[in-house]
Symmetry: C2
Subunit: 193 residues, 2 copies
């Protein structure tokens, strides 16, 4: 059985955990400031704001070696809401891979608002929710796609870790559109066939 440890206990953590549990995976949670908790899952989801990732790397980095680590962050500069805090051309996922060289880092879930993971729909339409997954390790991506699909949500391989830049641009744009009330927090970008 696939086993996941999710760092974070907010609405993204719960929405992702709900999908994975619905698909039959075992899921446990670690509050992001619980420095002593053991990481038991084979796959780890960093469902925390980007600035909190550094704390998790400091407290639990050694335990993440050999595991698949899923970065869901949108590394916005929340003071300006007009920039990302990662270097131009890079991504949060690529930066996390650099500090966790023995982990298989995937980008996923950053383009999905929490409610769309719970309902399986994007807005008041018949567009189904799609989780976009990027990373270098094809087997790790396939495992995550299978776990999400088992939970009733569509997931696709969106390319190499380099595509995390585009996924984060998409997540950033979606956040600015919702914050600007151009769309609701139950909608967003749907990927339609």
């Amino acid at each position: 059985m696939a086993s996941f440890t999710i760092f974070g206990t907010g609405n993204m953590a719960n929405a992702i955990g709900g999908v994975l549990a619905a698909g039959g995976a075992s899921v446990d949670y670690i509050s992001h400031n619980d420095a002593d908790a053991a990481v038991t899952g084979d796959t780890v989801v960093l469902a925390v704001p980007f600035p909190a990732v550094a704390e998790i790397v400091a407290s639990h980095g050694a335990q993440l070696a050999g595991k698949t680590v899923i970065d869901i962050t949108n590394p916005l500069n929340f003071e300006t809401f007009d920039d990302l805090v990662v270097p131009e051309g890079s991504s949060a996922a690529a930066e996390i891979q650099k500090v966790l060289p023995e982990s298989r880092v995937l980008k996923a879930f950053n383009t999905n608002f929490a409610s769309t993971l719970a309902t399986g729909k994007v807005g008041d339409t018949d567009s189904v929710t799609t989780v976009l997954v990027a990373g270098e390790d094809a087997a790790a991506k396939a495992d995550l796609v299978a776990a999400v699909t088992a939970g009733g949500i569509r997931a696709i391989d969106a390319g190499s870790l380099k595509r995390a830049h585009e996924l984060e641009a998409l997540g950033f744009l979606q956040l600015t559109l919702a914050a600007g009330e151009k769309i609701s927090w139950t909608g967003g970008f749907a990927l339609n066939n």
Copy 2:
């Protein structure tokens, strides 16, 4: 009456021209290599591949001063299909604004596949097509949004010209997903409320 001159005669040029004409605008076309044609429209659409924009700037740049210029390009490196050819953190639209300082450059239509402009739908769903418009000049954006909306297609102001980076990332990602047969060329990213 709003008047548009469209550079280009391909399927994006025709799809955009069709929407604008349906909304009551006058639309004329210039083949991108017709160096002698006069630009009569108040608003100009560069519906050509990104490398052809430089030729239009060389042949018609002086005529574009004082006009709204709409960049629809996705500046992919078509050899790698893995990079853009504009500097990291920048965008085709920002680069075009630099060489046309007396024009009001807007980014628009680069996230829409041609067929979705013709049908008003994204894929086999009830998601309506949305044209995302970015740029500095609020009045120019409002005029374009009005012209597209009059043609039966939803359009929204997606922010400043800086957001062209994110729009081009979205367009790039969508092209890679279609080229990789993850989605069809009649689908793509829909923006749902």
